[in-house]
C-alpha cells in the first residue's frame, strides 16, 4: 500500500544528510564539549558551528544570543518563565493569545498560579490577533508579550511585525514561538522585531528532543533549570551534541531551500482546498485562506468526528491529524478551533493535513481520491446532519 505522510506539523523525518552528520557525533566524536582534551574540543567545535548555523538562519547578530534546549517546549518555558521571573520587580502582567501552543499557554497558567496576571487575547475568525488588541491590553504592569508566529493547528500567520512595533514603543519584552514558521517562511529576528524567539528541531527535518531559544542581547532573563555552567549558564546539562549538530544542519538546509519548497507546497495546498471544497459539501476551511503556512491545509467536516476520519485514512496509508481532542481521551475539542468561533460539534470534525519535503503531486492525488468516500461513509453512519 502507498504510504503518505501528511503530518509534518506534528513532526518530520530527519533528513538523511542531517542523520549522517548526527551519527558521527554519536559514535566517533563523542566527547563532552566541556572537556578540554581533543575529544571534548571536537564536540565543542561542532556545538559552536551549529550555534552559528542557527544564528545565521534567523538573522541573530551574535552566536551568544542562541541557547539550545531539550525541546521546543523547554525553549518556550525558558523564554516565558525566564523573562517573567527576571522582571518580576517591574510588573506581573503578561499578554498572550488564544492561538498559542500548550507549551506557551500552560506556562502562562502556571505563572498565574504563581501570582502573575495573564491576558489571553481572543482571535478573529482566521485565528489572528491584531496589533491594536495588543496595544489595548498593555498596562503599566505588562512585562512580556508572547504571540506565536504561525499556528500549528490552522496554519495562520500572525502579524508579528506590527505587534512588535507596539511592544517596542512601549518597551515591553516580546517573544514569539516560531516552532512552526522557521524553515517554512522567512524568520528574521530583526525584521520581526522580537526579543526572544523559540524553535524546535523535529519540525524542520532535524531530530526530536532539541530546541533553541534566541534571546536578544541585553534582555533581562534568568534560567529555569539549575546545574552546571553549560550554554553560558543559560541551560545546564551535558549538551546533546548530536541533536545540536542535527538542528544546525537541519535549519541550514531548510532555509536554503525555503522559497522553492514553499512555492511547491503552496500549490499542493491550494489545489487540495479547491477540490475538497468543491467535492465535499458542508466543509469549512479553518484558518486564514492566504496568510497561512505553505504546506498547511485544515478543514472541519460537519457531522463527523476527527478520530474516525484519521483511522480510515490511516487504513489507506495516509497519516494525518485532527484537532479533535477526543483522540486524546478528553472530550474537549481543540482550544484553537473553538477560539476561532467554531462550535464544539463542528470542531470535532477537524482535519489537519501538513505537507513537506517528502510529499509529491501523486500523494496529493491519492489523498483527493481517498477522502470523499470516507467522508461519505462516516456521514452515512452519523446521526447528525441532513441525511
Amino acid at each position: 500500500m502507498r504510504k503518505v505522510y501528511f503530518d509534518h506539523s506534528a513532526t518530520t523525518p530527519v533528513d538523511p544528510a542531517v542523520a549522517e552528520e548526527m551519527l558521527k557525533y554519536l559514535t566517533e566524536h563523542y566527547g563532552n564539549p566541556s572537556s578540554i582534551h581533543a575529544f571534548g574540543r571536537e564536540a565543542r567545535k561542532a556545538v559552536e558551528k551549529a550555534r552559528q548555523q542557527v544564528a545565521t538562519a534567523i538573522g541573530a547578530s551574535s552566536v551568544g544570543e542562541i541557547s539550545f534546549a531539550g525541546t521546543g517546549t523547554e525553549a518556550d518555558n525558558m523564554a516565558i518563565r525566564g523573562v517573567a521571573y527576571a522582571n518580576r520587580q517591574k510588573g506581573n502582567h503578561i499578554i498572550t493569545s488564544a492561538a498559542e501552543h500548550s507549551a506557551v499557554l500552560n506556562c502562562c497558567k502556571q505563572l498565574e498560579r504563581e501570582g502573575f496576571t495573564v491576558t489571553v487575547l481572543p482571535l478573529d475568525k482566521y485565528g489572528r490577533v491584531t496589533a491594536q488588541q495588543v496595544a489595548d491590553a498593555i498596562t503599566d504592569k505588562t512585562i512580556l508579550i508572547t504571540i506565536m508566529h504561525a499556528n500549528n493547528e490552522i496554519g495562520t500567520i500572525m502579524p508579528i511585525r506590527e505587534i512588535s512595533e507596539v511592544a517596542r514603543a512601549r518597551k515591553i519584552i516580546f517573544h514569539t514561538d516560531a516552532v512552526q514558521s522557521v524553515g517554512k517562511i522567512p524568520v528574521n529576528v530583526d525584521e520581526l522585531g522580537v526579543d526572544l524567539l523559540t524553535l524546535s528541531g523535529h519540525k524542520i527535518y532535524g531530530p526530536k528532543g532539541i530546541g533553541a531559544m534566541y534571546i536578544r542581547k541585553g534582555t533581562f532573563w534568568q534560567p529555569i533549570l539549575f546545574g552546571g555552567g553549560q550554554e553560558r549558564r543559560r541551560r545546564p546539562g551535558t549538551e546533546n551534541v548530536a541533536g545540536i549538530v542535527g538542528l544546525g544542519k537541519a535549519i541550514e538546509l531548510a532555509t536554503q531551500n525555503m522559497h522553492v519548497e514553499a512555492e511547491r507546497l503552496a500549490k499542493y495546498r491550494d489545489r487540495i482546498f479547491k477540490e475538497v471544497m468543491e467535492k465535499i459539501p458542508n466543509t469549512i476551511l479553518t484558518g486564514h485562506p492566504e496568510q497561512r503556512l505553505p504546506g498547511h491545509v485544515s478543514f472541519c467536516f460537519r457531522f463527523i468526528e476527527g478520530e474516525s476520519m484519521l483511522l480510515m485514512l490511516d487504513m489507506k496509508g495516509i497519516a494525518i491529524s485532527s484537532g479533535s481532542a477526543c483522540t486524546s481521551g478528553s472530550l474537549e475539542p481543540s482550544h484553537v478551533l473553538t477560539a476561532i468561533g467554531l462550535t464544539k460539534e463542528v470542531a470535532h470534525g477537524s482535519l489537519r493535513l501538513t505537507m513537506g519535503r517528502i510529499n509529491t503531486e501523486e500523494d496529493v492525488e491519492y489523498f483527493l481520491e481517498a477522502l470523499p468516500p470516507i467522508i461519505e461513509r462516516l456521514r452515512a453512519m452519523s446521526p447528525l446532519g441532513e441525511g
Partner: protein, 123 residues
C-alpha cells in the same frame, strides 16, 4: 492503540443505519461532547429481530455501537437489558482506558431504545 476486534468493527461496522417505523429508538450523548449514539429496534415476540445504529464519535464509539447491536440481535428484551458496558468492552477484547466512556454510551443507547419500546408497549 485499538485491538484487532475494535478495528474490525470500526472498519466493517455491523448494522449501520436507522430502522423506519422502529418499535423503539434511543439516543444518548451530545454533539458538543463529540459522542452521539442512536439505536433503533424492531421487536417480535419479545425478541430483537432487527437493530441498527448511527454514531457520531471516535473509533471506539463506532466499534462499541457495532458490537452492542451484534450482541443484542436475536436476544430477548430481558437478555438484551443484561448487556453491560463492561461486556461490550470485553467482547471487543478491551478498550484503551481513555476510551472506556465510549463503551458506556453503547449500552446506554441500547437501554434507551429498549425503554422506549417498553414505554410504547405500555402506552
Amino acid at each position: 492503540m485499538y485491538t484487532e476486534k475494535v478495528m474490525d468493527h470500526f472498519t466493517n461496522p455491523r448494522n449501520v443505519g436507522e430502522i423506519e417505523n422502529a418499535d423503539g429508538a434511543g439516543q444518548v450523548g451530545n454533539p458538543s461532547c463529540g459522542d452521539i449514539m442512536k439505536i433503533t429496534l424492531k421487536v417480535e415476540d419479545n425478541i430483537i429481530k432487527d437493530i441498527k445504529f448511527k454514531t457520531f464519535g471516535c473509533g471506539a464509539a463506532v466499534a462499541t455501537s457495532s458490537m452492542v447491536t451484534e450482541m443484542a440481535l436475536g436476544k430477548t428484551i430481558d437478555e438484551a437489558l443484561q448487556i453491560t458496558n463492561k461486556a461490550v468492552a470485553e467482547a471487543l477484547e478491551g478498550l484503551p482506558p481513555a476510551k472506556m466512556h465510549c463503551s458506556n454510551l453503547a449500552a446506554d443507547a441500547l437501554k434507551a431504545a429498549i425503554e422506549d419500546y417498553q414505554k410504547k408497549q405500555n402506552a
